[in-house]
Subunit: 333 residues, 3 copies
């Protein structure tokens, strides 16, 4: 919707420089910007391109304030963050119509809040509780006694096993599976066969969590698996039983957590990382992509980056790589 | 259900020490145990905590026999195995109601056994055969001419391609895809384009196999892909065309098998392992997490652990890591 | 269907040696061949086995021409390619019945071509456009305003997000998710919380692309994600936002692309490869399985093979591995 940059600036707490009556109606990258678009510039070089782009207004950092710009500027301390907020304002998420589609199957004992959408073919099991304004996408299956908070977006073809609990404003992308059985067996030495260890624990997911497409999160074996408020999981991530992930953790695609791992608040975990049973990733640690953390290992130090398998501090690992490269060259053809 | 520890002991072939009339009704971890719970202790330290816990009775190893315990003890040679069996007794899996939901779509030519459950929105194709007491979960799609044995649990949103065969007591978790086309193409040197090599073989899965959430198992190109009795696959595993996996193999999450690999009985394969075309993993081999096995490689030796890429015996690999760490340190800042 | 080898030879442009009136009706591996089967032999050794097999006729290379063979030979420059084409002739893909199943849910504003199949429980959203002879498999969900070309095979339980565009003859295997939100957040330094960066770009997939089971391809953040004509993705691959993949690229299972990567035409990418943000894989590069490409890295050279993490030319990496193995051995027990 068309909004004046003065209003946008005010809502995102940016300082306006230039004509506040100019209207924008969407956001864009600098490369694709056309009239009506708002763009953002992270640095000086981007600012030059942004001012030269087809866009109508530019969010920029403090250093841009001095410029006498040919377009209105919205000056913010963190331009990308301000841009994300402006985008939420100008491009509201595709809304879904509240209402229960006639092809959805909802058990009588389920309790649905107000303005809930249950799309075609979705299945809501016995005693499920769903909060206000939550969407259950087409083909999604919500197992008995699951509890889903308010303002959640359960996109199509998601599976939530019985008893799983989700907070408010949780987004779950298609194909994700929440609450499946953990991978636990006991080998019978007499026969060599594996018998299933009970996988009867729960799964609790906090407010504002986002779960990527085809990600799987197992329920606990006897106790809980949990994911804390504000944590974001990318696609195809695996979270094993009894894993405890803290708040504001980001986990890139295809990373796997085996069982009983603890991840503290604010950790940043790259893609294709593997973490062994009972490891502990302490607050604010950064794990580089493809690294491997051994079982029971404790990884320490806010802001310290680890890489390689077994994961070691980045500086150490880079030295090892350099030594190896040197020796490889010396070894001749 | 409430059961006396004497009855539990008898059914799991444990020896009772203490008051057999005490009743338990569930299982629990030591940490969460409350009255009515049965717990287990793997070792002396756990036994101390178990006896001190809120639980009612404890399964413990032979060494506990001498103790004069404040709670009834069920003495078993393998306490964790005994506990798994007790859990099956006390906490029966969530049962599903037999019956065909009115929203399920079942072709007339399909043949269903007795007490089969076909949940809402499930689709059962032409000439499919389903054994007694098997569940087809909500939203699952069973392709034409597939055969599924008895007592299987096909959870919601599973896809089984045409012609796939499953044994009895197979568990398939949500999002798993069984029998999709293998990844085979032939490049036309004249155009540089890839043409699809036929992917028309079968997929056979033995009794007592468990398949994790979002795992994919491709059908054979011309012949079979197969998974032997009792083998367990964790979540997000990929099994390519023409792979032959033996019996009682365990495969942790996110491991990938490319084509025409043989895995012999009793192998143990960690998470995020990658195995190249035509490799052979011999009986009882252990592959450490994230390791990589080269195409055509034969990995030998029951109980031998391999690690790294390319996978090598663990002792050798650890030496190499130690040498590298030493050289990295010497190389100074 | 039964076809004379003379007709097969003519249709696949092979030269016939032997009795052209002999009929074949299927294709097979050499090992499983039975009367009526056509097999192929890549080399001399395979030819010996093929002629000795139960099959009826053999596709072989030029060098086989001199043979006085006991079975009809179809001589082709590229026997495997000729076999793939013969297979398409003899074993047509399982066809699907055109028609809309009564349990499918199709918005009135959707526009479907001729001979389209919409299977049970499939959901087709508002203003979706679907080309002629395309199949929408059971349980698949096609989001609003998506456009799907002609002769596509969208197998069961696929999810296509709103606005995604697919070309013609695209195959999408079960569980694949196309157009989900990319993984982009901005951290608010004041709170430590992550805010969602807009993920409102598009996804375009060219003609003749095949997408494996449970693969995920995210939409662009502000601009496009795209996959070029003829490119093939195996199972469980992850493609992040704003990735541009060229034509005739093959990508094996479980490989992951983070954001804004460019892959040029004809690249060959192994399994479990990880590629960092903004990297560029140039034309014809080969990336070995499990290798890792650093963010912003440009990988150059048609036909050059890269391996290891960080990815380096294969020859260099093998030397490093050899040096390390030697040092490991010297270091004693």
């Amino acid at each position: 919707m068309k909004t004046s940059v003065a209003v946008v600036a005010q809502k995102i707490a940016a300082r306006l420089a230039g004509d506040g009556s100019v209207e924008v109606e969407s956001v864009s990258s600098i490369e694709s910007a056309k009239p009506g678009d708002l763009v953002f510039a992270e640095d000086e070089a981007a600012l030059v391109r942004a001012l030269d782009s087809g866009g109508t207004a530019v969010i920029a950092g403090e250093s841009a304030a001095a410029n006498h710009a040919p377009k209105p500027l919205l000056i913010a301390r963190f331009p990308k963050l301000a841009f994300a907020r402006a985008a939420r304002l100008l491009c509201p998420q595709r809304s879904f119509e509240p209402g229960i589609h006639s092809s959805a199957v909802i058990e009588d004992s389920a309790r649905l809040g107000r303005h809930v959408a249950v799309e075609p073919g979705a299945v809501v099991g016995e005693k499920v509780v769903i909060g206000d304004r939550t969407r259950i996408g087409a083909g999604s299956v919500i197992g008995a006694e699951a509890r889903i908070g308010s303002d959640c977006n359960i996109t199509p073809n998601v599976t939530i096993y019985p008893g799983v609990r989700l907070g408010n404003r949780v987004i779950v992308h298609s194909g994700a599976v929440l609450g499946s059985d953990g991978f636990g067996y006991v080998r019978d030495p007499a026969t060599g066969h594996y018998e299933k260890f009970p996988q009867i624990g729960g799964l609790e997911i906090g407010d504002d969590v986002e779960i990527g497409a085809n990600t799987t999160v197992d329920r606990g074996a006897l106790d809980l698996t949990s994911i804390g408020r504000g944590t974001k999981l990318d696609n195809l991530v695996h979270v094993g039983h009894n894993v405890r992930i803290g708040e504001d953790v980001v986990i890139a695609a295809q990373t796997g957590f085996s069982g009983s791992i603890t991840v503290e608040n604010g950790a940043v975990i790259g893609g294709q990382v593997g973490i062994g049973d009972h490891a502990r990733i302490e607050q604010g640690v950064v794990l580089g992509s493809q690294c491997g953390v051994l079982p029971k290992k404790v990884v320490r130090g806010p802001g310290v980056v680890f890489w390689g398998t077994p994961a070691r501090p980045l500086r150490q690992y880079l030295k090892e790589l350099a030594v190896l490269a040197r020796l490889g060259k010396k070894s001749g053809a």
